[in-house]
């Protein structure tokens, strides 16, 4: 790395400290010098402050997750000061009248104490819960942004994998926290989680007994979940979030294609002071949003659910939203079960509760590898794709989004049925049908839409936009004149459409995905590999069957 230089004046003379400066400036300089003398940090500090971040609203979605996590750490720490993670039975004597005299666990009683006898305790509980919902929600939204724009591609594949793990851990962390108050609703959720673990062939019951310390419900699970919830998972989350940020910092943020945007540069706001002020402001906005929700929208009213009791249940037992897809898949599953050799395999839980989420998360994690295998694209990508330019990926994304949303809806089928007075059974059957029918349909529709938008862009670029001006041709015919796009817009569009994403000097890329063609036949390959190659070839052809070329043969008045 070259010597530090003033960014504003890269070629100027060596900088000097001004003679007369105020006390604050002096103190700042002294502090920086003190630190630099010991760590040699001046260079790092200078480069960090100059770090450039591209400006686009969608690049702030991940920040919502980051700041929600900070809020979770703060509010969670406060809650641990009052919460007792114990299943010791106690009789409640707090100030919530409708539960006074009821036997419950200490965990539940202390949650009531926080809610009704600690000033601001209810607010803090609600802040923690809303922040948890926003944490997972923003991770999902952020991941869809990354997916649809192709930001996961090399060199950012590892960060995609870390993100996937963060999502899974976020869901687990949320579920553990949701279970801690030991109320009737979360206890029912825990019962289902136990049953899901129990369904795992061979080791299921052992897993359950080791996790719960006894036959369900036992007396250990709350304290075990507590330490997992407040130490184990947050520790891993913290480490992985740090790694995620450091990789982002090191690799620099991606940007959308546009004028002046190249694979080799990044344009935007410097970290300090512009980005710093904005991101600080955004932290307060996220915190404000969470607090506003907590002030005016009640969440997880455990006092209404009542203490957990294995003999009781409430209608409409649902988990928090990020588990709802699992709940939905459990609800929609047909009742398959196999009995062989005195053993039972309950597919009705195993498939929706273990196999489907397993496949989903593995597909998420493996997607970058699958895509680069199919497209043979191994180049670096610092510029993003517009979703329309990669119809197959966009189609796959919409398809999985739709699949996921049907599962989530399935998790709320009873609420839908009772709200709209539908038949519960019919609702389930419709959702079962939609789960199979909608994803392929949405893939095709999305692909069509993308191709249509591409077509539209080509037309705009080559023929301009409709002007509304009617001209008469010498032959007497009337035509509407197209005016060419303004130069700056045309330049942006040209960049967006024809951008060469690879580093391999393709002159014109028709597919827009910048793949590198490799002559398979030239390499002597054995049979299984040949089959794989054939599959790959077919997939690649499917991937590339994208851009429709606009026939340019029509005579045009402007030409």
């Amino acid at each position: 790395m070259s010597a530090p230089k003033n960014s504003d004046d890269a070629t100027g003379p060596a900088p000097t400290r001004p003679e007369n400066q105020g006390a604050a400036e002096k103190a700042t300089r002294t502090t920086l010098k003190y630190v630099d003398d010991r760590f040699g940090s001046a260079n790092f500090l200078k480069r960090s402050m100059d770090k450039v971040f591209p400006d686009h609203w969608s690049f702030m979605l991940g920040e919502i997750a980051l700041y929600s996590f900070v809020i979770l750490l703060l509010s969670g720490t406060y809650l641990t000061l009052f919460f007792h993670a114990s299943q010791q039975p106690v009789v409640y004597h707090g100030s919530y009248q409708p539960l006074r005299g009821v036997q419950m666990t200490e965990a539940y009683a202390s949650t009531l104490h926080i809610s009704f006898d600690v000033r601001g305790g209810l607010l803090m509980r609600q802040i923690h819960h809303w922040a948890a919902l926003l944490f997972v929600t923003s991770i999902v939204v952020h991941m869809f942004r990354v997916f649809f724009t192709g930001a996961f591609r090399k060199p950012r594949t590892v960060n995609w994998h870390i993100g996937t793990i963060l999502l899974i851990l976020g869901i687990l962390e949320g579920f553990c926290g949701y279970s801690l108050p030991d109320d009737l609703l979360s206890g029912t959720g825990l019962r289902i989680a136990y049953s899901v673990a129990e369904s795992i062939p061979v080791v299921g019951t052992y897993v359950c007994y080791f996790l719960f310390g006894a036959k369900y419900p036992g007396t250990d699970i709350i304290s075990r979940l507590f330490i997992i919830h407040v130490l184990l998972i947050p520790g891993i989350l913290l480490a992985l979030i740090a790694a995620h940020m450091m990789i982002l910092w090191h690799q620099k943020h991606t940007d959308f294609p546009g004028v002046g945007k190249t694979e080799d540069t990044v344009i935007g706001t410097k970290f300090y002071p512009g980005f710093f002020l904005k991101t600080n402001g955004f932290f307060f906005m996220v915190f404000g949003m969470v607090t506003a929700l907590s002030a005016f929208a009640q969440i997880n009213p455990v006092w209404l659910y009542g203490p957990y009791n294995a003999g009781q249940v409430s209608a409409g037992s649902q988990p928090d939203w990020y588990i709802l897809f699992l709940e939905g898949s459990l609800r929609m599953m047909p009742n398959w079960e196999t009995h062989i050799w005195h053993h039972t395999i309950s597919w009705n839980i195993l498939i929706p509760g273990v196999i489907i989420p397993g496949i989903m998360f593995n597909l998420i994690a493996l997607y970058p590898a699958i895509e680069s295998w199919v497209t043979k694209d191994t180049g670096y990508h610092n510029l993003l794709d517009r979703p329309r330019d990669v119809p197959v990926r966009t189609g796959l994304g919409v398809m999985s989004l739709v699949f996921y949303m049907v599962l989530v809806t399935g998790g709320a089928n009873d609420i839908l049925a009772s709200t709209f007075h539908w038949s519960l059974q019919a609702t389930t059957w419709v959702l079962r049908f939609l789960l199979i029918a909608l994803p392929p349909l949405s893939f095709n529709i999305t692909k069509r839409i993308c191709l249509g938008l591409q077509h539209e862009d080509e037309k705009k670029l080559h023929h301009g936009v409709e002007s509304g001006i009617i001209r008469r041709l010498p032959s007497g015919a009337y035509v509407e004149a197209d005016i060419p796009l303004p130069a700056d817009k045309a330049a942006v569009l040209a960049k967006q459409i024809g951008y060469d994403h690879g580093h391999n000097g393709h002159a014109a890329i028709t597919s827009g995905n910048g793949h590198q063609a490799v002559d398979e036949a030239a390499e002597g390959i054995t049979r299984p590999v040949a089959i794989a190659a054939k599959v790959r070839g077919k997939l690649e052809a499917f991937w590339d069957e994208t851009r429709e070329t606009v026939p340019d043969s029509q005579p045009h008045p402007e030409d």
Partner: protein
Amino acid sequence: MTEVENVTSPENAAETPGSEAAVMRPRRSRRRRIASLGVLVAALGTVGTLYAGFAPAASSASNNDPAIQRGRALFLQGCATCHGLNGEGGAIAPSLIGAGASAVDFQMSTGRMPLQQEGAEAPQKRPDPRFNAQDIQDIAAYVASLGAGPAEPTNLNYQSADVAYGGALFRTNCAQCHNFAGSGGALTYGKYAPSLSDATPKQIYEAMITGPENMPVFGDKQITPSQKLAIINYVETIKAEPNPGGAGLGRVGPVTETAVAWLVGIGGLVIITMWIGSKV
């Protein structure tokens, strides 16, 4: 009018002699009149006695009660089409003999009866059912006179019952269908357990003892009257109780919280990111 009919509607037994005799008077000789009247009275008396022996005690007690008379008239007008002229039931409606006053009051005061439309679940018609409170009282009295059934609860002094105990009973016996806060929930094939938000203490009590539609019957030996009052106290308490954390979001659990997190939470924050990202 035949004796067979009289058996099914005992109040006619008392009503018939006078009117029937008056009609006959001009056409027959005095002796025959007296003789036939004697036979008729004897026959009716025998049937009436026989019936009284078999019929529940409540029905014979106040057959001349004007409330019952009025109730019967209203019944013939509003209920008999489906439930039969004498409440014996029909192809599409159950017999009301032995249904009791409680069931009538519950069904009619919630506006479920007279039925507005056939379906998996009888829809309610609140706040004003088709019959007013007095009409319902009279019809209930009439139906009660058809055969003994659960009477309308009289002691509804639930405020002094143990609310926490009621809560525990509610969670064991009621929450599985009506949800933890009485917000209602889905049952099979289009049926549903209604929300308790509009239900009065009396209606809740009546529902427990009569088991309307598909609701199980919670007789007084299974859940004692004092336990029932505790349950009612719990329901009324949580209905009246504010949502300390803000809007209750329908008190249906995490589904509405999901909608708020996505639409307000993430939706609002995305708008803020757009503001931050915009040029001006």
